[in-house]
């Protein structure tokens, strides 16, 4: 994959920066969904952890179900847009939530150990069947990926305004930032719910990996970067400043700004410079 045909657009990348996820409906063909189902019904809730530093494409060749999934053109293009053409395998898990399963409070963030300032992994959630609201598809809280919290501390929060529960058709895939707050939900239906989750790490700097030729001059392109989310309250401007920083990282443009949020802070003419600090030692 090197051409731009199946990569994310600039607008989709901006949505990812703002909300922390991209959802692509019915990405996986029906026949492959059926193959996945057969496989996961046998595997139940099994996890495979990376045992060595290797590409996800090397870990899962094209004879495996996951290998086939990873080589779907839109899947490959989206992965390349976010973490590069040859990302590192982290772990893979199949999730089975049997019909009639109740879950308690479950809101959490996966990676308290991960304190990289801007680089991010992606988690890929694949839903091989239709998921109704009663089946309790994964619930996400858009825009929470900048929050520095510790795993289950946020389980105290039962509901957050603006939370989104995944209700989708079979073959839908959600690509999400590893720090996005999320929660498994009760399956109150009479159908089992399946979900596959794959985590991968970037092996290159995540700079301008998407289709940068697309819609980069569209009017209102950055509106979503400046849109405060309903749960952010007083912190809305701080969240916008985090988005600007992430967009700088992704574009390599350290001068990018909106409404001068960082420009005015960085423009302090009285701030000590490095040479001043050294002279006092």
């Amino acid at each position: 994959m090197s051409d731009n045909t199946h990569k994310l657009s600039t607008k989709q990348m901006i949505d990812f920066v703002s909300n922390g996820f991209i959802r692509l409906d019915e990405l996986v063909p029906e026949a492959l969904c059926q193959e996945i189902l057969e496989e996961v019904k046998n595997r139940k809730n099994k996890v495979i952890w990376a045992e060595k530093d290797e590409s996800v494409y090397h870990a899962f060749d094209q004879t495996t179900i996951l290998g086939k999934l990873l080589r779907l053109p839109r899947m490959q293009g989206t992965i390349e847009s976010l973490v590069g053409a040859n990302p590192r395998f982290d772990h893979f898990a199949t999730h089975l939530t049997p019909a009639g399963t109740r879950k308690g409070t479950d809101l959490h963030q996966d990676a308290e150990y991960d304190r990289r300032p801007h680089a991010f992994d992606i988690q890929i959630s694949i839903f091989p069947t239709d998921v109704t609201e009663a089946m309790g598809g994964t619930l996400f809280v858009p825009g929470t990926h900048f929050r520095r919290v510790y795993v289950g501390d946020i389980r105290r929060y039962q509901n957050v305004v603006g939370q989104v529960q995944t209700v989708c058709k079979a073959g839908t895939v959600v690509f999400w930032h590893h720090n996005l707050w999320h929660s498994a939900r009760s399956n109150l239906s009479d159908l089992d719910r399946y979900m596959l989750k794959l985590r991968i790490n970037p092996s290159v700097k995540q700079e301008r990996l998407w289709d940068t030729t697309s819609d980069s001059d569209s009017p209102g392109l950055f509106d979503v970067l400046q849109k405060e989310l309903p749960w952010q309250g007083n912190d809305g401007r701080m969240e916008i400043m985090q988005r600007i920083k992430l967009w700088r990282y992704l574009t390599g443009d350290e001068s990018f700004d909106l409404k001068s949020w960082w420009t005015r802070v960085d423009a302090d003419p009285f701030a000590p410079v490095a040479s001043d600090c050294q002279s006092t030692v």
Binding site: R156, Y157, S183, Q232, G233
Partner: protein, 99 residues
């Protein structure tokens, strides 16, 4: 004919409202209910509306505020970091339960 004894017990119902800012009139951005009476069972799904638009609205419906958040300036060097929801207000109702 045997008389049936009715036993009254008091149980606490706890509601946590998370606000957009420190004012008790500001809008609810998140919420949780922990019900000691056992009547209410938590189930997050979809995009539900908060039970009360503000703490003040809940107070007017009989909820008692039992804890307010402490206001704290961020640590030096962490001024731009965001983490937990800052404005957590704990409210309670004491309800009679019968067996």
């Amino acid at each position: 004919m045997m008389s049936k004894e009715i036993i009254s017990k008091q149980r606490q119902k706890l509601m946590l409202l998370y606000l957009g800012n420190a004012s008790l009139e500001s809008h609810t951005i998140a919420w949780s209910i922990y019900d000691g009476t056992g009547e209410y069972e938590y189930e997050a799904k979809g995009t539900p509306e908060p039970p009360y638009a503000s703490v003040l609205e809940a107070m007017r419906d009989g909820w008692r505020v039992i804890q307010l958040p402490v206001l704290q300036a961020p640590e030096k060097g962490r001024e731009y970091e965001t983490n937990y929801l800052k404005y957590e207000v704990a409210l309670e109702k004491i309800e009679e339960c019968y067996e």
